[in-house]
Symmetry: C2
Subunit: 207 residues, 2 copies
């Protein structure tokens, strides 16, 4: 919003903080948190280490901020699902699954940022861990809500099932064939939703 690039030097350049976060997002996702040094982030952001430490207290704080942004992306997907299918929780859940399924090829050979970060940060007191846990709790709450609204019996159980499937799919993307994974995921979620279908349910749109 407002004035993005305050004065483009030669090419249109974002302010340093944004460039740093963009570079961090790219590198953390592709190489992992611990493999990426602060210097590498600075290089990719076309700035210096000092600039990074002017905007972020420590590298850990930068990691946490990155995950906060990723979490916001997922939240936005929830918002979109609700906005595009108001009052139709099944379609909302399917839209969510589609968001994950379509994201799989982009993530390609690296899995979910949250799962990977959990593996790389065993220390539960790490600031990024709190971001992850809060996000997961929030996401679970929303998903359980959707399941309940859809009239599914035992919404918590079903939400857990869907969560497991979504996370498992993202993990499995790192091995083997990616092409099938997306389709498989969608079919699985459809199966779960159809299984406890309400008697007067609308016919499925998907083939």
């Amino acid at each position: 919003m407002t004035s993005t690039a305050r004065r483009p030097g030669r090419v249109a350049k974002l302010p340093p903080r944004e460039r740093i976060l963009d570079a961090a997002e790219e590198l953390f996702q592709r190489e992992g948190i611990r493999r990426v040094g602060v210097q590498a982030i600075a290089d990719r952001a076309e700035t210096t280490k000092m600039a990074i430490y002017r905007h972020f207290e420590t590298k850990d704080a930068l990691v946490a901020e990155w995950l906060r942004i990723v979490a916001a992306d997922y939240q936005a997907a929830f918002d979109r699902a609700e906005a595009e299918h108001p009052g139709r929780p099944r379609e909302q859940i399917l839209a969510l699954a589609r968001f994950i399924a379509e994201g799989l090829p982009a993530i390609s050979h690296r899995g979910c940022p949250f799962i990977n970060s959990l593996a790389e940060l065993p220390d539960r007191s790490h600031p990024a861990r709190q971001v992850i846990e809060k996000h997961k709790a929030h996401q679970t709450r929303r998903l359980v809500g959707m399941c309940a609204e859809a009239g599914l019996p035992d919404p918590e159980q079903t939400a857990a099932m869907i969560t497991f499937v979504l996370e498992g799919a993202q993990v499995s993307t790192q091995n083997g064939s990616i092409d099938q994974t997306g389709d498989r995921l969608m079919r699985i979620v459809e199966t779960i939703l159809d299984q406890h279908r309400s008697p007067a349910g609308a016919p499925r749109t998907t083939a």
Copy 2:
């Protein structure tokens, strides 16, 4: 085999190579691969770095060997499931799920070694990656075979579903409450198996 401890110094001590692998297993699982230095492994194995490098070319080779052992444990679980329930594929799959579910508290706050290692080793040419991929392929093949034998329609799809659920459960163990996760997992797998039950199926044993 043969004479394990060739001459216990004071307490019965395994030979260095075994001690090293034991220490590595413990530390890699608890702290992660990249967080654990060779020196730390040596200390815990009550030996020295030099001894480690006499038995393993590099740290990466040690990591690969560790994962090879873990993979063998999982294979043994498959073997046991088949041996204890011969000709009853549904019971075999449930035994497998129980193996994972019961392992969750032990893994406690660290997830599946394979998943974590994938996150920590983005380099697909890493020797450990080949171990993981081969193991996953083997495991999938066996699970698909069980599903086919159980007469489930589209065994590949069902096997993928079960795989996703198992992996998702292990991932979710790292957050939130562990207690429920095991029970939830079992109920989910039961649901999957019951869903496409053969017409003349035996009554379920679980409530």
